[in-house]
């Protein structure tokens, strides 16, 4: 029986760099967090913060070179994925950890029918025969709510609407019954009513199959609705981590406050928003010390000198900031 508090994925000081002609860019810097079985963990941040690279590092989908997973461990169900051979890693991807991406039109193969694409994974990961695979494809397409699954299974990606394509991607991800799902901005490209359908579907599937979910997004509304725990990333660092309710009620990191204060609210209207001044630093030539300090209202001398470590300042609430 699976214990509810058991940690299924542990990231320890994960660091991923890219060696470019212009210099070396550290996209993920000593990121550490743990996800328990059945938990939905949201990784939030704006573009360039490193959240997608973190997900791809877990799946070892980083192109090496120019990428390099420099240090750290990614411990999944007790095994460090970074130590696995490429062959062993292929047995993990799709089968034990599955991933859903942002743009289904680009993530799915346009020249093969969806049945072939889903069956591919089934045959490689589970060793099913073509007939068994086809049967499972129908099952899984029905599961995600594709109407007339038997008729549509041999259609091509372009014959489906945006929301349907995302369901197909989800079907593919779930087909081999993984324990862990990573969803990288799965609803960003979708209309709000379709987004609501897909989020409901993901929640259903997670509950039904007792899966854990790493949900990456920049949308704070989606995070509030979907996630148990939230990690906030800024310029390659994890700067705050706590349960969702606490993050919205008592954010500690100045970047988190800034983010929450700058979004327009559906329910109330202020004359002017409170944006965070300035913009994200150049990651090739980042500032010394805390990368947020040039934009931070509360910056102190020490912030310019030392990168603050991520520390637990209240039960279950970690923050990387010299204020604490």
């Amino acid at each position: 029986m699976r214990a509810a508090d058991e940690v299924i994925l542990q990231l320890d000081e994960l660091t991923t760099r890219f060696h470019l002609r212009r210099g070396t860019l550290t996209a993920v810097d000593r990121v550490t967090f743990a996800i328990r079985r059945g938990e939905t963990f949201g990784l939030v941040g704006e573009s360039g913060c490193g959240k997608s690279v973190t997900a791809r590092s877990i799946m070892r989908l980083i192109t090496i070179p120019p990428g390099e997973i420099a240090t750290g461990r990614v411990v999944f169900e007790g095994e460090d994925l970074l130590q696995k051979t490429p062959r062993a890693m292929r047995a993990v991807r799709g089968k034990r950890i599955a991933m859903v991406f942002q743009e289904p039109m680009t993530a799915l193969n346009p020249v093969f029918p969806v049945s072939t694409q889903i069956a591919d994974g089934l045959r490689n990961n589970l060793g099913l025969t073509p007939r068994q695979a086809r049967q499972r494809v129908i099952e899984v397409l029905r599961l995600v709510g594709i109407p007339s699954a038997e008729r549509r299974m041999d259609d091509y990606v372009h014959q489906f609407s945006g929301g349907m394509r995302q369901r197909v991607m989800l079907a593919m991800a779930l087909s081999c019954d993984p324990q862990f799902l990573i969803a990288d901005e799965p609803t960003t490209a979708l209309d709000v009513t379709i987004q609501a359908q897909i989020l409901d579907l993901i929640r259903d599937m997670i509950k039904r199959f007792e899966m854990s979910l790493l949900f990456i997004t920049h949308n704070l509304g989606v995070v509030a609705h979907m996630c148990d725990t939230v990690g906030v990333m800024y310029a390659s660092h994890l700067v705050e981590k706590t349960d969702t309710k606490t993050l919205f009620a008592e954010p500690l990191h100045p970047y988190t406050w800034g983010l929450l204060n700058s979004i327009p609210h559906l329910e109330t209207r202020r004359r002017y928003l409170n944006p965070i001044q300035g913009s994200v630093c150049n990651m090739l030539t980042p500032p010394t010390g805390c990368k947020f300090h040039p934009r931070c209202e509360k910056a102190m001398d020490i912030c310019r000198q030392q990168i603050p470590p991520l520390r637990e300042v209240a039960p279950g609430h970690q923050v990387a900031c010299h204020l604490y």
Partner: protein
């Protein structure tokens, strides 16, 4: 053409229509298989001077096409758009040229809307040259720097190229370019959708500030309801080429009447974990704008639908206080 023909609104669209014939080749026509994509299908709306009309809807609803029609970047299939009492579509060439000084456009993608081979100086001064608004280099430069300062950039940016700027900064440049000719109406098509949340806030504030300083009127097109709520005075909700509902921002967000508006609002996840979760109030998927069936476009998804909804396309009717709704059932 006198102002009394319209109701004195700054901009008024009547029966504005844009159809795209697809599959219109000879064989298809012989076989009776032509298809018409009705991107914008006879819409009516107005904008008052100094006001912001937020035009909102999901992808494919026709909002971008509407924006382009009002800017006369596209020719309509039918209908009219009265700007200060004159129909922009019946203007002749020299007056269309003048129209470009009155109505300007800000595009969604800050990465493709600026010419990568021109400096910021060249990009912003071009409209000045086209409209004869500066007679020498110094005047141009002075005006360009003035515009850059207005949008929160500086003189030091003048001789740089677009690739040297971030998305938010490029959008500021695009806004400066639009303001160069001192327009009265600015049409912004999803101007913040491609930007990060914290930069969105800066650009939205900039829009508001400029509106106050320069007495601008905006047609603000967006799909993000929170952004629309923030920036608009009035809102028009579009669905498959039609306007479902128009009203003040309070009417639309606090007392939405059309089932589609209600569905849109219910589906938005609020950035508050203890708020009610997003709900789906409509079943099924959006119909295609290609050869849409007669009757209400929401028929088939709408929980209130009755037999008349399948037959007759509802008209926008004023339900009191300039709150217009196109629905047989409410």
């Amino acid at each position: 053409m006198s102002t009394t023909m319209t109701n004195g609104y700054f901009l008024e669209a009547r029966g504005l229509t844009k159809y795209y014939p697809i599959q219109n080749d000879l064989l298809s026509r012989i076989m009776g298989r032509t298809a018409m994509l009705k991107a914008v299908d006879g819409i009516n709306f107005y904008i008052k001077r100094g006001e912001t009309l937020g035009l909102v809807g999901e992808s494919g609803c026709g909002k971008s096409t509407t924006g382009r029609l009002v800017a006369r970047l596209l020719e309509p299939t039918a209908g009219s758009a009265y700007l200060q009492g004159r129909n922009i579509f019946t203007l002749r060439s020299p007056e269309v040229h003048k129209l470009r000084k009155t109505v300007q456009f800000v595009f969604q993608d800050p990465y493709s809307s600026l010419n990568p081979r021109k400096t910021i100086m060249q990009i912003i001064s071009r409209p000045l040259e086209v409209h004869g608004l500066a007679s020498n280099f110094l005047q141009k430069r002075h005006r360009v720097i003035e515009l850059l300062t207005m949008v929160g950039l500086g003189a030091e940016h003048v001789d740089r190229y677009p690739h040297e700027f971030s998305g938010g900064q490029r959008q500021r440049i695009a806004i400066a370019r639009a303001l160069a000719v001192s327009p009265d109406l600015v049409i912004a098509d999803e101007p913040v959708s491609a930007l990060d949340v914290s930069i969105q806030a800066q650009i939205l504030n900039l829009f508001r500030q400029l509106q106050e300083e320069l007495h601008l009127t905006y047609l603000f097109i967006a799909h993000d309801l929170s952004v629309v709520r923030h920036i608009s005075d009035r809102v028009a909700v579009m669905y498959v080429g039609k306007i479902a509902e128009t009203g003040t921002v309070e009417q639309i967000f606090e007392r939405p009447m059309h089932p589609y508006t209600q569905a849109l609002l219910a589906a938005v996840p609020l950035p508050n974990p203890v708020a009610p979760p997003p709900r789906l109030t409509l079943s099924g998927e959006v119909i295609s704008p290609v050869n849409p069936p007669g009757g209400c476009r929401l028929y088939g998804r709408c929980p209130l639908a009755g037999p008349e909804c399948a037959e007759i396309d509802p008209e926008l009717r004023d339900r009191g206080g300039e709150h217009f709704v196109a629905c047989h059932k409410v």
